[in-house]
Amino acid sequence: MSTIKTAESPNGIEGPGFFATSLDAAVGLARKNSLWPLPFATSCCGIEFMATMASTYDLGRFGAERLSFSPRQADLLMVMGTISKKMGPVLRQVYEQMAEPKWVLSMGACASTGGIFDTYSVLQGIDRIIPVDVYIPGCPPRPEQVLDGILKIQELVQSESIRRRDTPEYKAMLQEYGME
């Protein structure tokens, strides 16, 4: 008797030899369970992320086993650690190189708000230069929190309409950040 759990199938009409559902639901299911995260780790949150990837917490259980170290192949940008103002343009370029659809997870106090580094050289939150989908609080957050953040990203990924990136709202949001 296998104990392996498979993802729940979306709502649809099932009969002998066929299963009909919406394309959104099928694509969402596939995307949700095969995220390729790009770890942008700059400090102690990155160490916590290593623990999240290792066997005890094992992010691979959620289909995010394969880290992408090229932004061109990644779905999820995980920003973990203090981002200095000088690194801001680099982070922005990494984000711009990612193909749509893409999601951003901001891990820890520094990436989200600048944290304790309220100083002239540190970016006071990455949402000043790129849009963020999920914030994880903590300094640093525990691996459980990172997993929770990934699950929140998965909810977004699964429920996202495949046309969302074409909507005027999405384009207006990118315009706010000065992106195409």
Binding site: K85, K86, G88, T113, D118, T119, Y120, S121, Q124
Partner: protein, 167 residues
């Protein structure tokens, strides 16, 4: 510091640069010599080439800002004689209006990045430096952030106010 070497150091400075030595002190037993800024490079190269002393390693080069003093900026050089294992600290004062001093890159190539850092953070202009531009901060920064007239905290945060934090 070894008393014999200290005597040699002070004697050679007094005999060669008598009028350019502003003060000699030894806080925490660390010989500190304040000199006039115009002669600073001459004095350091003299110590570099001195037969006995051989101060041939530049440990550090930085500056401080004292907003209450008349000459507000103080440039600090830490020299190390590896042969004798002794150290000396050389200081020079600059006015904030014309924060200019000659570059030390002719004597120590390693002064290049240290002078760039000092320029970046405190706005000291090292005349004759081959590439005096910012090294640590973003290129479009308008201020020299370690000067006391600029606030340490970033001014863009809206979540901190006195009602919540009692500052």
């Amino acid at each position: 510091m070894n008393e014999e070497l200290k005597t040699i150091l002070l004697d050679t400075l007094k005999s060669t640069f008598g009028n350019d030595i502003v003060a000699v002190d030894a806080p925490y037993d660390f010989t500190t010599i304040t000199v006039k800024k115009d002669k600073l490079v001459d004095i350091i190269s003299h110590l570099y080439n001195h037969e006995k002393l051989q101060f041939q390693f530049l440990t550090d080069l930085t500056a401080s800002h004292y907003p209450d003093d008349k000459e507000q900026l103080e440039v600090v050089y830490h020299l190390h004689s590896l042969v004798n294992n002794i150290r000396v600290r050389i200081k020079a004062r600059l006015s904030i209006g014309t924060p200019e001093i000659a570059t030390l890159t002719g004597v120590f190539a390693g002064a290049n990045w240290m002078e760039r850092e000092t320029f970046d953070n405190l706005g000291v202009i090292f005349k004759g430096h081959p590439n005096l531009k910012r090294i640590l901060n973003v290129d479009d920064m308008l201020i020299h952030p370690l000067r006391k007239e600029y606030p340490l905290e970033d001014q863009v945060r809206l979540d901190k106010n006195d009602t919540m934090f009692g500052r």
